[in-house]
């Protein structure tokens, strides 16, 4: 299951970003510094679309989570 650390998008896009993840049934967590996005293999294409639409900056993929 791929995991990504994603920098928060612009303030005015954040609610829509979370809605997009939820509408695609993609699990995520908002931590203090970033969003942690947990993908099932079948969701990679949907996440790529969200990534493009929100101009996301992925800090790290498959990070070691505490």
């Amino acid at each position: 299951m791929p995991t990504y650390l994603v920098s928060p998008p612009r303030y005015d896009k954040r609610m829509h970003f979370m809605n997009a993840l939820e509408n695609s049934s993609i699990d995520y967590e908002r931590t203090k510094e970033e969003y942690v996005v947990y993908l099932r293999d079948s969701q990679v294409n949907e996440f790529n679309i969200i990534h493009r639409n929100f101009n996301l900056h992925v800090i790290e993929d498959d990070p070691i989570l505490s």
Binding site: P8, Y11, D12, R14, M15, M18, E22, Y28, E29, R30, T31, K32
Partner: protein, 220 residues
């Protein structure tokens, strides 16, 4: 967190206050001081949890919005906590306010809380069917996990990006815990008090609260 429940034993009106009548709600847990701003029509109402502090210090957001909502037939109850900063006690005070309003004939109630009180209203929101919507302004996350239990009640979160006490991510995190219907308004440049965008906040609440009270979703 286990929420202790509260029962009413009576109430008394104590004369005119700065923007409404002074009211004391008596309960099995003690007496709670409030300001009741009402125009006689009794259906929709708003509770401003913890928005009255000190002698006559009323939050400008609560004061300004309550007066605008009164013109739309929506009454307000501004609650002064018995013990500020204690979440279970403050949630009980808020529930006592809901019980009082229900006894007065109000069937649809919106809860509004700022900062610590954001968590208070989120904690209290799922407890009564009459609670139709919840607003948390610059809320803390501690005590706000029950945001996921609020649905189908609409939840509105407002937070400033220059909040010096609680970072804006707090409201984003609460948003991520909550289910639809929910809305997050981030105000760029606003501090914890939201005073930099007071007019925007008041206008948002003046519109959002009446709409949320008309939400047709069934609360069971």
């Amino acid at each position: 967190m286990t929420i202790q429940r509260i029962s009413l034993t009576g109430h008394s009106f104590n004369g005119l206050g700065p923007i409404g009548e002074y009211l004391t709600i008596n309960t099995d847990q003690g007496s709670i001081d409030c300001l009741y701003i009402a125009n006689g029509r009794k259906n929709d109402a708003v509770i401003w949890a913890g928005s009255w502090s000190g002698e006559n210090r009323i939050s400008p957001i609560a004061r300004n919005t309550a007066l605008l909502l009164l013109a739309k037939g929506i009454n307000s109850l501004i609650i002064k906590y018995r013990k500020s900063r204690e979440l279970p006690s403050s949630s009980m005070d808020t529930e006592a306010g809901v019980l009082f309003l229900e006894n007065q004939g109000h069937s649809r109630i919106s809860l509004v809380g700022h900062s610590f009180s954001g968590a208070v209203v989120i904690t209290t929101g799922p407890l009564r069917k009459s609670i139709a919507s919840v607003v948390a302004l610059a809320s803390q996350t501690y005590g706000a996990r029950s945001a996921r239990e609020l649905s189908p009640r609409p939840l509105l979160l407002i937070h400033g990006t220059n909040d010096e006490r609680l970072d804006v991510y707090c409201s984003e995190q609460i948003y991520s815990w909550a289910k639809q219907p929910k809305e997050l308004l981030i105000l760029e440049g606003s501090s914890h008090s939201l005073k930099e965008h007071l007019e925007i906040v008041v206008a948002k609440l003046e519109n959002w609260i009446p709409q949320s009270l008309n939400n047709k979703s069934t609360i069971s």
